[in-house]
């Protein structure tokens, strides 16, 4: 890369909560140790099911009143932002003025949890709307999670959320990069969050679509690429990155996790739910090209695969198209097999789970593959136990969502 430092954007902090870890270190260790975060779960109306729920302590950064009036998505965001800022060693108002920091958070959906809760609440009173909470509007405005962060942390720069279905975690990061390169902010807090298990509707809808995972052992339910996979495990979570220009990061001696060297986002324009591997492949190719790389230069591809019979096959078609037979050093893995589908947080969390590979060259596996679906065959697909790569210079992170939204990010080792 020959760009000047002020045109390069790097990750200098990570804050996350996943169903199997509340810090980057814990999350990574559990991915290497094969520890799932998926458990039995019960939700209103729908009944017993399985889900990935996070165990972080929201009171670490919020008052009890904030928890009462805010949203779960807001709490997850606040936790991740505080953890990311601490990791980066940045104090808002001291290391960056509060109006030069911004919050850009990807979401799959927002407001369903709060609306369902209110309808349930007024059902206790004969559905009289005078019992409807006055907090419903601030809880359900689309900027809620990012806005709650600004109120809690005291950030006066821009904030907004990015609605991008299950590509949102990557697109949140892309927005952070763009806002930095536009000169709107010096520090971007960007990534994705999900509170989706709080709504019974997402379980019921996937179930009606025959796309909700089920298994006697919850830890085995999320099984992308396995022949017996039967759907998605709904999970919550969040991952927020501190993004800065390289010159700024260098000037303050920051720890650098990696550089966002390429990204691409496009649309299928074909179907409400079925993915389009041609557009997925185009998205991957453009991200790689923008990074100044070829497919053979990518050493880890973190797949989006969710465990649906059709979706996994389509992505593998796209992957074989892009990476073919001439990428002997490219490894493929999947993080959803451990944590389920964290929706708006998925891509951001999944990228985080691979960051350490730049240093240790270990590729975490995709677990729960007892019998690989031949239609999901990929060279160097890392199954069930970690693999060691000769080198890890660049990671490609896939994310695809409903309505045919695709977003691919390339992160490169900073040397």
């Amino acid at each position: 890369m020959n760009k000047p430092d002020k045109e390069r954007v790097v990750i200098t902090g990570v804050g996350l909560t996943a169903p199997n870890g509340n810090s980057l270190g814990e999350f990574r260790q559990n991915l290497l140790n094969g520890v799932s975060g998926v458990k039995a779960f019960e939700t209103r109306y729908f009944g017993p099911t399985i889900a990935g729920i996070c165990s972080f302590d929201p009171l670490k950064y919020q008052k009890r009143k904030e928890l009462r009036i805010g949203t779960r998505a807001g709490s997850i965001s606040i936790y991740c932002v505080h953890e990311a800022l601490a990791d980066a060693g940045i104090r808002i108002g001291q290391d960056v003025t509060s109006d030069r920091a911004g919050v850009f958070i990807g979401l799959t959906e927002h407001g369903n949890v709060e609306t369902e809760n209110e309808i349930y609440e007024i059902s206790k009173y004969g559905y009289q709307t005078k019992y409807w909470s006055h907090y419903h509007n601030p809880r359900t405005v689309a900027n809620n999670p990012a806005g709650e962060v600004t109120v809690n942390v005291g950030i006066t720069g821009p904030h907004y959320t990015i609605g991008a279905a299950c590509a949102a975690g990557n697109l949140g990061c892309v927005n952070g990069v763009q806002q930095i390169l536009l000169g709107e902010v010096d520090v971007a807090l960007a990534g994705g969050v999900s509170e989706s298990p709080g709504t019974f509707g997402i379980f019921a809808a996937f179930n009606s679509q025959n796309a909700l995972a089920h298994h006697d052992d919850p830890t085995k339910a999320s099984r992308p690429f396995d022949k017996t996979r039967n759907g998605i495990v709904v999970s919550e979570g969040g991952a927020i990155y501190v993004l800065e220009r390289l010159d700024r990061a260098k000037a303050r001696g920051a720890k650098i996790y990696g550089e966002v060297t390429g990204y691409s986002y496009n649309s299928d324009a074909t179907d409400m739910v079925l993915p389009n591997p041609v557009r997925q492949a185009a998205c991957m190719r453009q991200a790689i090209e923008r990074a100044g790389l070829t497919p053979a230069d990518i050493h880890i591809v973190n797949t989006h695969a969710t465990g649906t019979p059709a979706g996994d096959i389509k992505e593998c078609e796209a992957l074989r198209d892009v990476f073919g037979e001439n990428c002997p050093d490219t490894y493929f893995n999947n993080t959803k097999s451990f944590i389920g589908h964290c929706m708006g947080a998925a891509a951001a969390l999944e990228l985080a789970g691979n960051l350490a590979s730049f240093q240790d060259h270990i590729v975490h596996p995709t677990i729960n593959v007892d019998e690989l679906d031949p239609l999901c065959m990929l060279n160097n697909l890392v199954l069930n136990t970690p693999a060691t790569a000769g080198r890890v210079d660049s990671i490609l992170n896939n994310s695809f969502g409903m309505l045919g939204i695709n977003c691919v990010l390339v992160l490169s080792k900073f040397a």
């Binding site: 009890r64 009143k65 009462r68 009036i69 019992y131 006055h134």
Partner: protein, 81 residues
Amino acid sequence: MTREEISQAIIDILNDIVPDEDWSALTPEENLRGKLESMDFLDVIMELRKQYGVEVPEKDYGHFATLKGCADYLEPSLASK
């Protein structure tokens, strides 16, 4: 409800609405507005509606400035409950 029970009911509601505040030392004449934001105050009105079936019209909100004011206003409605 007795006047003491009404006051305790108000304090219980305040504890739920603003749980980070210490309401145990609240005096009858203390101005509640210093500890309650406008949305909190609407929560007090909502909880009275939900828990005791009391409707407080907006024109009467001024009675809720103190714990004593709350008890004075609610006593006729809640005495029989």
